[in-house]
Each structure stands twice: as structure tokens, then as C-alpha cells.
Amino acid sequence: MNQVIWVVLLPFVGSVVCLLAHRKAVFALGMAASLGTLIVSVGLVAHVWEHASARVELGGWATPLGIALHLDGLSALFLLLTAVVGVLVGIQAGSYFAQSPELRAMGSRFWPLWLLLWGGLNGVYLCSDVFNAYVLLEISTLAAVGLTILSGSTASLVAGLRYLLAAMFGSFMYLLGVALIYAGTGQLDFLLLSRGVTPQVHTLTAFGLMVFGLLIKSALLPFHFWLPPAHSSAPAPVSAVLSALVVKASFFLLLKIWFVVFESISGGTPGGMPSQLLGILGSLAVFWGSFQAVRQSRLKLLIAYSTVGQLGYLFLIFPILASPDFQGHEALAWGGTIFHLFSHGLAKASLFLAAGCLLQAMGTDDLHAMRDIAGRLPVITFSLGVAGVSLMGLPPSAGFVAKWMLLRAVLASGQWWWAPVIVLGGLLTAAYVFKILAHTFVPSEGEALRLNSVPLVMTLVPLALAILCVLMGFRADEVIALLPAVPHFGTGKNGWEMP
């Protein structure tokens, strides 16, 4: 199973080569690395599908001493999402950064940083060591901040600094947790820790600190302040990557910390306070993020606030799985969450890329300027609409399947009070999606806005992402069938045994 390491190696090789290569060759080399990573990721999904999970001990050193990579269903799905979004964003970036000398210079910085970020993200999905996870989080954070400030505008610098400070604080809190857990148990590996932790004051504190740090990085409600400015002021391909992938990596790590490392603590307190608290914060995030999104008058800021709201749904999995009278529906809860993650990743990337096209065509992303856009830029408007439908959760999109599964899981767990959150959140989402679409159909009064031309590829990529998102909804059965490969954490047969 040594090929697991290639999903980390290929982006890094691409990054080094892109940094040293001539400006004209950067796009081709970057795309080559991206496609290679996609192929390896698909191969890994197939491997998990056929053989279940895999574990590689790096350097040949057994785990308490060395570092292991761990591939399971959850990691494979994250790898796949990252690769699909990554390749499509790469195609978009190719034409986005080819338009002017300034943008070309930006592009030659985009590729090395983006591939470094991609390698870091893939490393997070595979990692099985709490300290290694810290280093990987740092590499992704610094690369993500570098990408945020790519355009060099003052707004993006301020947003980038805010992002950097918040993320550094989050990492340090996580590292403090790592220090405590190592001082207490003398272990760093996920699997060994999961056997070693017992509910004592220092392990509980370490658990709290690690979760706290990761919550800041995954922008749950009171800690979301850094996200909207950073995601809205970056260039469009970067915004797509940040919203669709980077915050999800911290969430992925949170899942592993919660359900694998501290399984005996988080699973030992059924329906306990911490998981309910995360559920409440998640619900508040759904309402607050969507409400703020409705209020915005700039398209990119609206989409960024929508990310805050949509991330909230992910946190419902914690109270659902903690319920005592919850039996045999883990797959439903996991399926709903993973499906939401996928559909949001694809739809959000599509929205940001479409917004980038609009910004380029109109020269502004003010919603009020978007008069009569529907007739003049039909493809972009169509992508916005389709991606929006998926965000809202209307059938037959993937968003619908996700919310339907979450709703069923909530009812099965006997915690009916989360159901209104899902329904009302969908309504608020509809409100801001219709706000965008309504502006595009307003006929222009007087002289129409002169539109700049947008390369064809740039309009097709958002469309492809939106269509993928819908297709996933049509193919719900197959995707759900793949989900048993996702570990049922905590049931013993979870893929977290040593192979």
C-alpha cells in the first residue's frame, strides 16, 4: 500500500517544479501534477472500496516511534473531493491567470503555493499522528494565507493577516493540547492514543484544547470572524479552494480527534454537554451565516457568509451520534454529513468561480449592478442557479440528498429539535440564492452595462462543478453504497484496527 504516499508527494513535486520552471510552462506542469494526483486519489478510493483501510509506517519505524499514514473510507472520500475540485479549479486558474501580465505574474505564484497547500491537505487526510497533524495544519495555513493575499489589494492583506493571527492562535491551542496529551500518555499516534486515553483532568483538558483550536480553524460560529473577509477578498480560484476545501480539512481532523482519538471520552458521555454544545453552535451558525448572507450586497461576500452557514450543518453530526437511543443509523448520519460536505464543496467552488466570471465581466460584484445578466451571460447565471439549488437542498441535487439523510438521522436519534434547523436553514438559503438570481433577471434601465469578455473555459468550469453536484444527487444510491466504506467509528469494526 506504499502508493498512499503519492497523493502527498505528487503535489509537492509539482510545487517545487512550478517554482523553478519558466513562467510559460508553469500551467502545464501544475496541471500534470494535478491530474496525477487525481488519478492516484481515484486509485486509493478504489483500493478502499475493495480492501478496506490501509496503514503505512513511514521510514519503516513502528508507530510509537515513527509516524504512520492511515487511509480509510473517510480519508479516501476527502482525497477524492479535493482532487476533483482541485483539477477543475486548476483548469479555471489556467485561463484566469492568463489574461494580463499582472495576472500572469500572480499565476506564477499561485501554482507553487496551491500545490503546496494541496499536498498539505492530502497529508491531513492521511495523517495519524497528533503532532504531524499540527505541522500539516501549519503548512496548509501559511500556504492558504499566502494565496489569500495573492492579489495584493489592501483589503486582502488585512483579511490575510486576520486569518493568519486567528489560525496561529488556533494552532497553538491545538499544540497545547498535544503537549498535554503527550505529557500524560507518552503517545502521539491516533490509534495508540485511542487505546490509552482515560477520562482524567489532563486528558479532558487536552481534548478540549485540541477541539477548541480546530473549531477556530474550521470557523464555527463565534470563531467565524476571519472567514468572510479572507474568502471574499481572494482571487476567485483561491476563494473556491479556501471555501470548498481548506476549512473542511480542519473539520476532518476534528472528526478524527473526536471519534477516533478521544472515542472513549466523547462516546462515553452519551448525549453529553459538549456534543450538544457543538450542535447548538452549528445551528446558530446556520441561522447567523445565512442571515448575514441575505443582508450582503456584494456577491462574493454573500457567498462567503453562506459558507459560514453551510459549515454549521456539519456540526450536527456530533449530537446525533451521541444520542443514547440511537441505533443502527450511524451510516445515515455519516452519509448525510459526507454528502453535505461533497455537495457544499462542489456547489461552493462553482459559486465562487461563477462569481469570479461575473466580477470580471462587470468589473464589480455589486448585486445591484447585475442587471439583465441572465440574458447576456446565460451560462454563468445557469451555473449560479444550479449550484444555488443544490445549496438550498431542492431535489434532485446532492444537497437535497444530504439534507434528507441528515433529517432522517436526526429523527432516528430522537432529537427532533434539530429538524427545524435543517428546514429553516434551507429556507434562508433559498432567500439568498433567490436574491442573487432575482438581480440577474432585472431588466436594465437605460444604457446597459458594458461587459468585458470572459474566456469560454472560465464559464464552463463552474457549470461542470454545478452539474457534477446535481449528478451526484441522481447517483445517490451509488454514493450511499460506497459509504459503508466510511468507518463506523466506535463500533470496533471501524477500519481503525491495525491491518
Binding site: 492579489s151 489589494s153 493571527l165 497545547l176 503537549a179 505529557a183 502521539l188 482571487p235
Partner: protein, 106 residues
């Protein structure tokens, strides 16, 4: 009180001071310093952990973690300070000439 507990308590107090400074101080340079104080506290905790074992040599794993952490912290600090300085300059420029910022999104 063993040496370990004295130093680990000191480490925790450093973290507390750093977090308080980060929350209450507005100046950006001060925020960066506060983050470095937090980092110092965490490193001190790790090294005092390593000190508990004196049989052969102090535990090398936390030491390696701290060495890695120091380099990560100084790179992030350098990056943050570069951003601080750049932002400060832009702000000063835009006060005198609001049309300076031509780097807005294309």
C-alpha cells in the same frame, strides 16, 4: 514541588498571559508578540515534560517537537510582521492619497 511541576506551572501561566495579551491588546505588533509568548509557554511545557525522564537522556521527542515548533513559529512571525508593516504603509498612504490603491481586484 518537583522541577517538572514548577516549570510546567510557569509554562501554563505564560500561556495565560499570552492569551490575555492577545485578546486585550489592539496593536498588531503586540498581538504577534503575545502569540510568541503563548508559543514560549507551550514549548516550556513540552521541555519540562521531557525533563521528567533523566535515566538515559531527557526525552528527545518533545525536544524535536519544540525545535520544529520554533522554526514554524519564527516563520509565521516573520510572515505576520511583513503583513503588519505592509498594511501599516498602505493605510498611511491611503490617508494622504485615497486613490493609491490600484491593486484592487481586476
Amino acid at each position: 514541588m518537583s522541577t517538572f511541576s514548577i516549570y510546567s506551572l510557569a509554562a501554563i501561566l505564560l500561556v495565560g498571559l499570552g492569551v490575555y495579551g492577545l485578546f486585550t491588546r489592539q496593536h498588531l505588533l503586540r498581538k504577534v508578540m503575545a502569540l510568541n509568548v503563548i508559543a514560549g509557554g507551550i514549548f516550556l511545557l513540552l521541555i519540562s515534560t521531557a525533563y521528567r525522564n533523566q535515566d538515559l537522556f531527557p526525552d528527545p521527542v518533545p525536544q524535536a517537537m519544540v525545535l520544529t515548533g520554533i522554526v514554524v513559529a519564527i516563520s509565521a512571525t516573520g510572515f505576520a510582521l511583513a503583513l503588519v508593516r505592509s498594511i501599516h504603509r498602505r493605510m498611511a498612504e491611503s490617508e494622504t492619497d485615497p486613490s493609491q490603491d490600484s491593486w484592487d481586484q481586476p
